[in-house]
């Protein structure tokens, strides 16, 4: 009798764990950003570097507003917001990205003499865009990995 009770509890717990895995997988599928999101954010971030390096800072506000709009729209589309990255990873990412952003602006200004005003700004903006795009690919890979683990 006691054994039967234990067996029923174990089977119920097993079933519950299965449901949990299924729902976690569903959440991660929903949370995966659409394919256009990474390249668009990368492009906008690169534009931010290019405009700042080209002394067109008055237009950076527009790019920032556009980025906020894109992020909000993406959130409305997926109808979830995630905490997929551990706080430590996010902090390390910011510590690397923020100085890199300013470093590229300085590099672009230093390269003006040799490459020209427009080319130097575009080159450094392009480098930042590529880095951001690579980061978005890492993020997508992260989501896919969790999807595989939870299914």
């Amino acid at each position: 009798m006691k054994n039967e009770k234990h067996s029923a509890a174990s089977s119920e717990a097993h079933k519950a764990l299965g449901t949990i895995q299924q729902m976690k997988g569903a959440a991660m599928r929903r949370a995966t950003p659409p394919r256009w999101f990474g390249p668009l954010i990368a492009l906008l971030s690169g534009s931010l570097v290019s405009l700042s390096a080209a002394d067109l800072r008055q237009y950076t506000v527009l790019i920032i507003l556009l980025m906020i709009l894109v992020i909000s729209y993406q959130r409305q589309e997926t109808r979830v917001s995630t905490i997929i990255f551990p706080v430590k990873t996010a902090v390390v990412g910011l510590i690397i990205l923020v100085p890199l952003f300013f470093l590229l602006i300085i590099v672009a200004q230093l390269l003006r003499e040799s490459l020209g005003h427009v080319s130097a700004s575009l080159l450094c903006g392009g480098i930042f865009s590529v880095l951001m795009y690579l980061l978005s690919l890492v993020e997508r890979h992260w989501y896919n990995k969790i999807n595989v683990e939870t299914v």
Binding site: A13, A16, L17, I20, K24, Q76, V80
Partner: protein, 96 residues
């Protein structure tokens, strides 16, 4: 063997699904949760109310892009209770 807290509020199938869906998210929209659980609005509202009364979820209504939407998130108490509950389920399965 260490035992964890088996939570009767969380263990109800739909409520367990809600917590499992929300645990890796910051928040999710009510209608999305309803679609994932394949339940009616009233059933989901009832379960969310139970979880809210227990302090496990927080509900916020916001107007986004002209649409009034309800967002649900797990509170830290909810995350704690859910984690304990899952550990207890694993212990039950492993002990048998």
């Amino acid at each position: 063997m260490k035992t964890y807290r088996f939570d009767k509020i969380i263990h109800a199938p739909n409520r367990l699904q809600i917590c499992a869906f929300l645990v890796q998210l910051e928040e999710a929209e009510f209608q999305l949760l309803r679609a994932e659980l394949a339940v009616s609005d009233s059933v989901l509202s009832k379960h969310i109310k139970s979880l809210e009364e227990a302090g496990y979820v927080a509900v916020v209504k916001r107007r986004d892009f002209g649409h009034r939407r309800t967002w649900v998130s797990l509170t830290s108490a909810g995350r704690g209770a859910y984690t304990e509950h899952v550990k207890e389920l694993k212990r039950i399965v492993e002990s048998h």
